[in-house]
């Protein structure tokens, strides 16, 4: 996989290295700004509220017997 990538990248040694760096940075940005933010809410360990998953619906609607302060 990486050997194939190395052979496909254009330029001499310097060109291949900068191509690698560019791909690495691009991949990192894709992960950190697109993939991870998408995956995160689908994983459970950020649930901090009671009665998830439909927090707003269940907690807001009762608005129980609290008095306006």
């Amino acid at each position: 996989m990486y050997g194939w990538l190395w052979r496909k990248l254009p330029g001499g040694f310097a060109g291949k290295v900068s191509g690698c760096v560019a791909l690495f940075v691009g991949g990192l940005a894709l992960l950190f700004f697109v993939v991870f933010p998408w995956v995160e809410p689908r994983l459970p360990w950020n649930d901090v509220t009671v009665n998830s998953p439909s927090i707003e619906q269940t907690v807001v609607s009762p608005s129980p017997s609290a008095l306006p302060s």
Partner: protein, 262 residues
């Protein structure tokens, strides 16, 4: 053919060699991606929260510096109705409404005050955001809409992340009965004292009721409830810190005793 000969064939760059190497590289890459995800969760998300917190603090300072448009207690200044979201998605039975709803003091996503917990450090302070949606909680600890306002009779409920997004509630496990929780609002320091700590199931909505555990009871006390996930890095339970209002002192009188001591 001997073993050595087999090995020689594989290392020479056969088709099998290529496939095995490709699969190996794929797994190594996936491992690195998982590691990066951990890094993202535990550290990178904090950058976002840090930024959001400084925005919220700025917002609070600006709001508090400006003169009041009308008394804060007036319900007519409410910018929106308290109900949002469809009731159909509700999966947990809830208590019937028995009293007027709480007037929200801020729009969802806006700051409502600052939480200070001396046990977690003299400089511990987070702007509390209105709302507990995923996006709200990324900015900081969130106030359950519909629960009491700071210092109000009923239950003032705040949720916060324990391990990600700056982990504002990371240290809640260290809190003990009698610890102070100070909520700073525009002109008041509300000091609560912890009365109970517990670990409950995520479905236990009783803890956010105006009178926890008593769906129909009428609230007479001003309570605070902090919720976060428990144990750390898990979503199996919720850590609940309950407190009772001890004092409400005007900010003009200086820091409350609970903050002075720290």
């Amino acid at each position: 053919m001997t073993m050595a000969a087999d090995f020689a064939v594989v290392t020479r760059g056969s088709r099998a060699n290529q496939v095995i190497r490709g699969v190996g590289e794929l797994f190594i890459t996936l491992g690195v991606v998982v590691f990066l995800f951990v890094f993202y969760e535990l550290w990178f998300t904090g950058i976002y929260t840090q930024h959001a917190q400084s925005q919220l603090n700025k917002q609070l300072q600006t709001e508090w510096a400006a003169p009041l448009p009308s008394p804060t207690t007036s319900p007519t200044t409410s910018p929106r109705p308290v109900i949002s979201g469809s009731p159909t998605a509700s999966s947990v039975p809830v208590a019937p409404v028995t009293a007027p709803t709480v007037t929200p003091i801020a729009l969802p996503g806006d700051a409502i005050g600052i939480i200070r917990i001396p046990r977690l450090g003299a400089n511990y302070g987070y702007a509390i955001v209105e709302g507990v949606s995923t996006d709200d909680l990324k900015k900081g600890p969130g106030h359950y809409p519909g629960t009491a306002n700071p210092g109000g009779v009923g239950n003032f409920v705040i949720s916060g992340h324990r391990t990600t997004y700056l982990a504002p509630f990371n240290g809640l496990g260290d809190m003990v009965i009698g610890d102070a929780i100070v909520i700073e609002t525009r002109d008041t320091y509300y000091t609560y004292r912890v009365t109970k700590t517990a670990s409950v199931l995520p479905t236990d909505v009783n803890v956010v009721l105006p009178v926890p555990g008593q769906p129909r009871a009428k609230a007479t006390q001003a309570l605070i409830t902090l919720t976060t996930c428990n144990p750390k890095y898990s979503a199996s339970h919720r850590l609940i810190i309950s407190g009772l209002l001890e004092s409400a002192l005007p900010k003009s009188a200086g820091l409350p005793p609970a903050l002075k001591g720290s």
